[in-house]
């Protein structure tokens, strides 16, 4: 007997929320960097991938799971700070294709180094919670302890970022540095540090995402782990608006649910096609994102 909770629709919605939480996190990390430094970071998937290898690699030396997660986050902070200082800072004020090209080069080099050091063979990461769906009357509900953990983690990270930006002094300084660097500097904000901090936060959000993605039994940790996820995260961020953290997260979650239905009712190849069509249509309708107020462009 089918109950509503085990029906195909509920199962798709729950699965979609899990994927959508991941897309939302990637979109959020893109927005953080975009707002701080006006760079669309094409290495946004590769930098956390590298941090995850550094941290979670310690599992093979029998370090405890949560310590490895902590090391990954520290590595992500370090990589984010270094990248901003060394690679991104010289590019401010240059034509807009320069940072794009540099970040693509960075993506190539990070993936190549990761493959050279750790090989391209997938590494399985243990999931901290069971990835097997809960049962109800002998039927799976489409939600496992691990996917619930993914959704909760995503919500906590998003909440933390929003709290940081909206309600703390540091958040105010971060927003001010992004919007009006000159004025902020005059008022005593260390703008350079704030931009670095933006990159650190973004890479750390990315590292959380990468660990969640790599804990999936079917993918494991590979150098190209985030390529596909990055595309979905970018689509979510572009549809929601690169300037709006809330918009990016919302559209990530909605995108996840829509695509879950597409994958279930059509086929798995159609997922990225539908995502691409959504992106093209939404960019044609509102180039600056569906969930932002349109801004006039300064000349």
């Amino acid at each position: 007997m089918d109950s509503f909770l085990t029906s195909r629709i509920v199962s798709d919605i729950l699965g979609g929320l899990t994927n959508g939480a991941i897309y939302g996190l990637v979109a959020l990390s893109l927005v953080l960097v975009w707002r701080a430094t006006r760079v669309l970071n094409f290495a946004q998937g590769a930098m956390p991938m590298f941090a995850t290898y550094l941290g979670m690699g310690l599992l093979s030396y029998h370090w405890p799971y949560w310590v490895c997660v902590g090391v990954s986050l520290v590595a992500a902070f370090a990589i984010g700070a270094l990248t901003e200082r060394v690679l991104v800072r010289p590019l401010y004020g240059k034509p807009e294709i320069n940072p794009i090209v540099v970040m693509v080069g960075y993506l190539i080099i990070l993936e190549a180094f990761a493959a050279a050091i750790w090989s391209t063979t997938p590494r399985s990461l243990p999931a901290p919670f069971s990835p097997i769906d809960w049962q109800l009357g002998g039927q799976p509900v489409g939600l496992s302890p691990f996917s619930l953990f993914e959704i909760v983690t995503a919500l906590v990270v998003m909440g933390a970022i929003v709290t940081l930006f909206r309600f703390t002094r540091l958040g105010l300084q971060l927003r001010a540095s992004a919007l009006a660097p000159e004025v902020s500097r005059l008022l005593g904000v260390r703008v350079g540090r704030m931009l670095t901090l933006g990159w650190m936060l973004s890479t750390a959000v990315g590292a959380v995402t990468a660990i969640l993605v790599a804990s999936n039994f079917f993918t494991g940790l590979t150098p190209q782990l985030m390529d596909g996820i990055f595309a979905f995260g970018f689509i979510a961020a572009a549809v929601g608006g690169l300037d709006s953290p809330v918009g990016a997260v919302t559209s990530g979650i909605v995108l996840g649910v829509i695509l879950q239905f597409v994958g279930d009712y059509l086929n798995s190849n159609a997922i990225i096609l539908v995502a691409l069509v959504i992106l093209i249509v939404s960019l044609m309708v509102r180039p600056s994102g569906l969930l932002t107020r349109s801004a006039t462009r300064r000349v």
Binding site: E96, I280, L283
Partner: protein
């Protein structure tokens, strides 16, 4: 002696030497005839193209003549090179066409595409699909159809580009590159799924070309030579067309859009149309490059046209010099020989060729070059050479 007379004398001298060499060194009459034809074409085109009046008043004719000389010399040279070298050069030439399209997009509109590997795949599969359904279509027509299909895809994706600014177009083309393998397998009844497609009949060299060779020459040699030469001619035509476009009114309007789109709009350039045209042309060029690769390989495989190819295309054109015409040629050569150079480097340093590091060296070197180029010399090799020449010219004055 006037410069004109000097040039004429030099041309006649070179011509005479070539003919004498041909008559005395060529083992057979047909060889000698081929050399004479090559020499006549090169001298005549070179002479006309370098006339000061032609260069000043008919720049398009001068460019056409320069193209004829280059293609003529390259085609002549390919007859003496080994089959692997010819194949390598032809692969590089196809890539150079793709690079030229991307170089034009950036040089003309200031935007960048990370999805040109996928547009290349569109052209490559269009050629294979068409050839499998209409085996009798001449090569030129098949190529034109593939270019048209590539342009159509470019138009579909380029429509939002009319209003896009900044990195949105780059991100969207990246999504297209990531989605392309899924697009191919969605239409697997046409595209052959994972195994790709074979061409129904391979391109064979015409009789007059075969007759130039000794009777026992393997058909692989003559067929590869024929395909290489077809690709070289196509490359020449593509570069000639692009050089004219760069210099034309449209090209000037596009450069203004790149440098200052507000000013461009004020002087009456239609921004949306200009941007879309630039994007469509770059997609069409990519499709032509892919179509030529299908002809050369006699088959097409979806694995070739993944995300990695799109990134490689971007890396190679940036190293060569994005926004320049010569940068595309340099990039094509870099692409054709990068594998050989890296293999040589691995052999020299004694790395394990099957090891992790050796297999990733390609990515490490390309990634590093990409970053270094953008940081220190954004116009790549072509831009650096131009800069050095200008400096020397200034120093001389």
């Amino acid at each position: 002696m006037t410069p004109l007379a000097r040039r004429g004398a030099a041309a006649l001298g070179a011509f005479a030497v070539a003919v004498v060499l041909a008559v005395f060194l060529a083992p057979r009459a047909s060889d000698a005839a081929a050399v004479v034809v090559v020499a006549v074409v090169a001298t005549a085109a070179g002479f006309v193209g370098s006339l000061p009046r032609v260069r000043a008043e008919r720049p398009a004719l001068a460019r056409a003549m320069l193209t004829v000389v280059l293609v003529d010399v390259v085609v002549f040279a390919t007859a003496f090179l080994s089959v692997p070298t010819d194949f390598n050069l032809a692969t590089g030439a196809g890539m150079a066409i793709v690079l030229l399209g991307l170089s034009f997009l950036t040089g003309a509109s200031g935007q960048i595409s990370i999805g040109n590997g996928a547009f290349m795949g569109v052209g490559a599969f269009a050629t294979a699909i068409w050839a499998n359904h209409h085996a009798t279509t001449p090569i030129v027509v098949t190529l034109l159809i593939s270019v048209a299909v590539g342009a159509l895809f470019g138009l579909l994706l380029g429509l939002p580009a009319t209003r896009l600014r900044g990195p949105y177009l780059a991100g969207m083309t990246l999504a297209f590159a990531v989605a392309f393998p899924a697009i191919l397998s969605s239409f697997s009844s046409w595209t052959g799924g994972d195994s790709g497609l074979q061409l129904p009949n391979s391109a064979t060299a015409p009789h007059w070309l075969v007759s130039l060779f000794h009777a026992g020459t393997p058909t692989l040699t003559t067929d590869t030579l024929w395909l290489t030469d077809v690709i070289m001619v196509a490359t020449g035509v593509a570069f000639f067309f692009m050089a004219n476009l760069f210099a034309s009114r449209t090209g000037r309007a596009m450069r203004l859009v790149r440098d200052n789109d507000v000013a461009a709009e004020l002087v009456g350039v239609a921004l949306p149309r200009t941007r879309v045209i630039a994007f469509v042309i770059s997609a069409a060029y990519a499709a032509l490059g892919g179509a030529l690769w299908t002809l050369l390989n006699n088959s097409v495989s979806p694995a070739t046209y993944g995300f990695a190819l799109s990134i490689t295309i971007l890396a190679v054109i940036v190293i060569g010099g994005i926004g320049t015409i010569s940068g595309a040629l340099i990039g094509g050569v870099v692409y054709a020989y990068s594998t050989n150079v890296i293999a040589w480097f691995v052999a020299q340093t004694g790395l394990n060729p099957q090891g992790n590091l050796a297999s990733q060296l390609n990515g490490i070197i390309f990634g590093a070059l990409l970053i270094v180029t953008m940081m220190f010399s954004p116009l790549g090799i072509a831009g650096t050479v131009r800069h050095l020449r200008q400096r020397r010219a200034l120093a001389r004055e």
